[in-house]
Amino acid sequence: MGQILQLRNISKTFPGVKALRGISLDLNEGEVHCLCGENGAGKSTLIKILSGAYQPDEGGEIIFEGRQVTLTPHLAISLGIQTIYQEHIVFNSLSIIENIFAGSEILRGWVLNKREMRRQTEEVLTYLKSDLDPARKMEELSSGEQKLVEIAKGLVFKRRVIILDEPTASFSSSEIENLLSIIQTVKQSGIGFIYISHHLDEVFKIGDRVTVLRDGQKVNAQAIEGLTKSRLIKDMVGRDPSTFYQREKVEIGEPIFEARGVSGKGVRNASLVLRRGEILGLSGMTGSGRSELMNVLFGSSRLDGGEILIHGKPVRNTSPKAGIRNRMCFITEDRQNTGLFLPQTIARNVTTANLVQEKGFVRLPGEDLRVGDEYVKRLNIRTPDARTRVLDLSGGNQQKVVLGKWFHTNGEIFIFDEPTHGIDVGSKQEIYQIMVDLLRQGKAIIMVSSDMPEVISMSDRVLVMRDGAIAAELSGDQITEENILTHSIGDSTI
C-alpha cells in the first residue's frame, strides 16, 4: 500500500496561541486514520491545514504522493483531498446530482450533460448500496443521507483523501452503523480517510491507526490493534496538574439555585444544585447540551419540563427579562454575537442589561458614562474612558465589558459559558480573579468550559454532560482529566 499524504513538522501559530506544534502525520492508501483529542487539542486546525484553509508556519512540509505541495483550498480539491465538515455545507434546495456536480458540471458543448451526471451519480449510489433517488432535494434528506451524498461526491471525482470531521454528531445509531460500513466499503478502493471523532467506539470499529493530539502536540500514533480505550484516554489527558491556575477557595454556603429534572431543547432531565460561594463546573463534549441547558436555566430557551428554584422558591424564567429579575446573569460563549453591542460605547454596553430593572423613563448619557467609567476602573479595562467603542477593544477587554454589563444588574447567580474562550493568558488570570472576587461577595457561578485545566482548577464540583443529560457529578479528588473525559465519552466498557 502506497503512502498518499505525509505531513512533516506542521506548526500553526495564531496571535497569542500556538495551536499546533511540530505535528507529523501520514496516511496510506485504503487506510482509516483516526484523530483523537479533547476540544481545542488542535484537530480542527490540522484539518483546516489539510484542506488548504490555513497555511502552516514556516518549516512545515506537506507531501502529497511524493511531491511537496503548498495547499490552497482549490489545490487541495484538485489533488483529491476532500474535507467533509461537521456542519453540512450543501445547497439545500438543489438535488443530489446538482450538489455532487456543483462547480464541476459535466458539459456537452455549452449545455449541461444531465444524463451523464445522473448516470455517474446512480453508479456511485449503487456502489454505496443506497437506494436514494438522485433527483431528491438535499433538504429532504436526513443528516446521515447528506453525509452519504458527500462521500458519493468523493467517489465520483475519484478523490484520494476524504477527511471526516465528527461525521456522526447528529446521527441515530443505525445511521452511524451505516456510515461506518460505507467507509469500510469505500476504503477498499484505495481512498484514504482521516476520521475525527470523540466517539471511541467508532474509532475502534473502523480505525486502522490513531493519532492523539493534546494541546496542539502529537502525543502518540499507533495501530488500533492491541490498543485499549483506557490507554487512549490516558493519552488524551495526562497534563501535569501542578501547572494549573491555583485558585483561592471560598467558604461554601447554602444552596441558592436548584434545577430539578429540567428538560428543553437539547436537554433531558437535568438536575443540579448551586451553593453560595461555589463554582460548579460543567464539562462535556461539544454538542453535549451544555449551552442548551444554560439557555433553559436563564430563560432564553423554553423550559419544557421540570422546575427551577431560587432560594428554595420555584421561579419561572420565561424570558431573559425574567431571568435578570431573578438575579441571574448569563455571560454567553459567543460574546460578539450575543453579548456585546460592538459599535456602541462601553458606557452603553455596560448599562444595557440593567435597563429592565431600572425605574423611570429618562436616561441621561452622563449617568451612563459615570457607570461606564466606574467599570473601566473596577475591571481594569485598558482604555482611557467609557466613551471607547467596544469594537476597538481586545478580546480580553471585551469580555470584561460583558462582565461589567452583568455586574451592573447586581445579580447573584452567574452563568459563565466558556469565560476565557479566545482570550490571552494574561487576561485569563484576571478573569479568574474576578470570578473568585464574585464568590467572596457571596455569589455563585455555573461555569461551562471545554478548557480542561480551567474546569479542574476553578471548579468546586464538576458536572459532566452527555447527550443532553447530566452523566456524572465529580467532586474533590474525583475531579481529574481522566474521569471527566471518561464520563464525557461515556463508554461503559472501559
Binding site: 427579562k321 453591542f341 444595557t352
Partner: protein, 357 residues
C-alpha cells in the same frame, strides 16, 4: 500594546467622533456652492435669494411633512427595519380623511381621527407580522405599499376627493403682515411647520435621553444580545412601527391641508424621499447607528436641493439626478471618512511602534 492601540483609535479624526459632521459639512458645502452660483449669475451686489428668509421659510414648508415621516423612518431604521409603505399609506390616509369630510359627512375631528387611527392600525399590523416572523421588513412593507394603494383606489373610486378648505386652519399664517427685508415678500409660518419642529424635538429627546431610545439602539445594533439583556425585542419592533403609523397619520393630514385634495399621487415617492433623508443624515440601513440630529440635517439637505435647482432655473428633471447623486455622495463620504481615519490611526500606530523599537 493594547493600551496604546485604544488610545490611538480614540484620538481618531473629528469626523469619526462626531458622526453628524460629515453630512453637515457636505450640506454647508452645497449651500455655499448654490450661493456662489447665484452671486455669479446675479452679480456680487445682490443678496442671494436662496438664503433669503422667505425662501428659508419656503423650504421649511416643503420639508415639514416628509420631515415628520422621516422622524418615524429614523426610528424604524435605527431598530434595524425599513418601511416602504409610508407613501401609499399617506395617500390612503389623505383619501380617507378627505372622503370623511366631503363624501361621508363625518365632520373634521372624526375624519382626522379615522385617518390617523387607520394609519396606526395598519402600521401596527405590519409591525406585528415583522416582529413575529422572520420575513424581512422590506418584503412586508412592500406588500403593505401595494395593498394600501389598492385600498386607497377602492375608497376613492380611483378619483380625487376635493375639499372646501376645511383643513385650512392648519396652514393659517401665524406671522401675518411680516415682510421679508430682502425681497419685500410676505413671510409665512403655518402651524404645520411648528408641528414638525415639535415632533422632531420630542422624538429626538426620547431617542437620546430615555430608556426607550436606548433600547431602540440596542435592538438595532444586535438583536440577539438585546434579547439576552432582557429587552423584549419583538415588542420594541412592534412599537416602532406603531409610532411610525402615528407620524404618517399626522403627516398625511397636514399634507392634505396643504393640497386640499385627497388623491392617490399625494404620497407618491414619500418613502423614497424619507429614506433618502434618513440615510443622508448618517443612519445605517443595518440599524443601530444614527441620530435625530443627523436626520434633521438630511431633511433640510434633501429638501433644499429641489428648491436650489428652482433658484438656478434648472429643469425639474435635473433635480432627480442631483438628488440621487447627493444621496450617493453623502453616504459614501461617511464611509470614506471612516476608512481614511482608520488608515490614519494605523499609520500613527506604526509610527508609535517604530518609535518604541
Amino acid at each position: 500594546m493594547s493600551h496604546s492601540k485604544a488610545e490611538a483609535r480614540s484620538r481618531s479624526s473629528l469626523f469619526s467622533r462626531h458622526e453628524n459632521l460629515t453630512p453637515l459639512s457636505i450640506f454647508v458645502g452645497f449651500i455655499l456652492i448654490i450661493v456662489c452660483l447665484q452671486l455669479g449669475s446675479q452679480g456680487i451686489g445682490k443678496y442671494p435669494t436662496f438664503i433669503s428668509p422667505v425662501n428659508l421659510l419656503n423650504i421649511m414648508m416643503q420639508v415639514a411633512v416628509p420631515g415628520i415621516v422621516a422622524v418615524g423612518m429614523t426610528l424604524v431604521m435605527l431598530s434595524g427595519g425599513i418601511d416602504l409603505s409610508v407613501g401609499m399609506l399617506a395617500s390612503l390616509v389623505s383619501i380617507l380623511v378627505s372622503s370623511g369630510i366631503s363624501t361621508w359627512g363625518l365632520g373634521v375631528p372624526v375624519s382626522i381621527a379615522l385617518g390617523v387611527g387607520a394609519a396606526i392600525v395598519l402600521e401596527t399590523t405590519m409591525g406585528f407580522i415583522i416582529s413575529r416572523t422572520k420575513v424581512e421588513p422590506f418584503i412586508i412593507t412592500l406588500g403593505g405599499m401595494i395593498t394600501f394603494q389598492g385600498i386607497a383606489l377602492l375608497v376613492s373610486h380611483s378619483r380625487e376627493v376635493t375639499m372646501n378648505g376645511e383643513l385650512d386652519f392648519l396652514k393659517t399664517n401665524l406671522i401675518k403682515g411680516a415682510k421679508d427685508p430682502v425681497t419685500g415678500l410676505n413671510l409665512t409660518i403655518p402651524p404645520y411647520v411648528l408641528a414638525f419642529f415639535a415632533i422632531i424635538l420630542v422624538v429626538g429627546l426620547i431617542l437620546a435621553y430615555t430608556k426607550y431610545g436606548r433600547r431602540i439602539y440596542a435592538v438595532g445594533t444586535n438583536p440577539n444580545a438585546a434579547y439576552l439583556a432582557g429587552i423584549n425585542v419583538r415588542n420594541m419592533t412592534l412599537s416602532v412601527y406603531a409610532i411610525m403609523g402615528l407620524l404618517v397619520g399626522i403627516g398625511s393630514v397636514l399634507l392634505l391641508a396643504r393640497i386640499n385634495t385627497g388623491i392617490i399621487t399625494l404620497g407618491q415617492n414619500l418613502e423614497i424621499d424619507t429614506i433618502a433623508m434618513v440615510v443622508i443624515g448618517g443612519t445605517a440601513l443595518r440599524g443601530g447607528k444614527g441620530s435625530m440630529l443627523g436626520t434633521l440635517i438630511g431633511i433640510f439637505f434633501l429638501g433644499s436641493i429641489g428648491n436650489a435647482m428652482n433658484m438656478l432655473r434648472l429643469p425639474s428633471e435635473v433635480q432627480f439626478v442631483a438628488k440621487g447623486l447627493i444621496v450617493i455622495i453623502a453616504v459614501s463620504a461617511a464611509d470614506v471618512s471612516t476608512q481614511v481615519s482608520a488608515f490614519m490611526a494605523r499609520r500613527r500606530e506604526h509610527a508609535l511602534a517604530r518609535k518604541a523599537q
